[in-house]
Amino acid sequence: MNASPQFRPSPGARAWNPYVAGALAGLLLVLSVYVSGKYFGASTTYVRAAGFIESAADAGRVAQMAYFAKEAPKIDWQWMFVVGIALGSLAAALASGTFRLRTVPERFAARFGHRPGLRALLAFAGGAVAMFGARLADGCPSGHGLSGTLQLAASGYVALVCFFVGGLVVARLVYGRAGR
């Protein structure tokens, strides 16, 4: 960790070694593929969830939309996987004493100050842009970045490189040196 004067990591229980945790995640993925034939992915779940919400307003319109015909609003393996990730994180945070309510991440505060409203707004805008991009790319860092690359899919490598190129440029523009 760089302990620059602008940025200090928050205290808490010691993190697990990223290689050990990453290897265990790899074994979990292999187990999932063996047991249920499912590869990790997340962004399609947001399409299905958006379909549910829009169906509540106008079910007829949703039924006619091509993308919701392709990714129908239904609860499937991946939907439960995404919910499970949140629950697993909650359990791990509570068990390790690292659960803490907070509205502004440290690197954000280092650049913009403690401004929860601005952070909420930029998170919303970033979320909208990121999800539009993920659907256009046909996957996110889970679907392309992990599942695609480990299956040696050319699409996974192209998408993963582009995720980082887009991210590197915008992170430098937005957070600059203050975030470092």
Binding site: N2, W16, Y34, E54, M65, W79, A86, A91, A153
Partner: protein, 174 residues
């Protein structure tokens, strides 16, 4: 049953993501600013272990691949747009819920934004079909197909290359 497996797999993955601290905004943005490579170490190890395991299962006919097609228009443009949004959000679709799980309330508006982004894409989809989603469509292409070799030589090269990259990161203290 399939739903239960999904939930259990998610819980396991969520625990690993939380304890390795890779769901933190500061770590994700730290990687994009090239000062904290924790998420790269985690992802790369997951990929390399998963690659060997999945192809072993496939060779034993115990599993099938589930490939996404290479569509350069969608993959490149969508990938760059995703990256730009990711740099603002600091969480990705899989980790936003986990960030909320450990008390990061700012992930909530991020998730709301992702729902809006998904809805917007569903609106735009018909007009993209004949355009950017048709550019450079090579179908379900894999690296072994591309180089005309078997999958194990490709895996060997990627494992060796990945190990070298990780050694480089450790030496640089990232």
């Amino acid at each position: 049953m399939e739903l239960l497996f999904g939930l259990m797999t998610g819980i396991g993955f969520g625990i690993l993501l939380q304890r390795a601290e890779v769901i933190r905004f500061d770590r994700q943005i730290g990687a994009l600013l090239l000062v904290d490579m924790t998420i790269v170490k985690f992802m790369l190890t997951t990929i390399l272990v998963g690659m060997v395991g999945v192809y072993a299962l496939v060779d034993l006919e115990l599993a099938k691949l589930s490939l996404k097609p290479l569509v350069l228009g969608g993959n490149v443009l969508g990938g760059l747009i995703f990256g730009a949004g990711w740099a603002l959000l600091g969480y990705c679709p899989g980790t936003a819920g986990a960030a909320l799980g450990e008390g990061r309330v700012d992930a909530l508006t991020g998730m709301a934004g992702m729902l809006v982004g998904a809805a917007a894409y569903a609106e735009a989809y018909p007009s993209l079909l004949g355009g950017v989603l048709a550019w450079g469509d090579y179908g379900k292409l894999t690296l072994p197909d591309l180089f005309g070799v078997g999958h194990w030589p490709v895996i060997a090269v990627l494992v060796a290359g990945g190990a070298l990259l990780l050694r480089f990161l450790e030496r640089r203290g990232l």
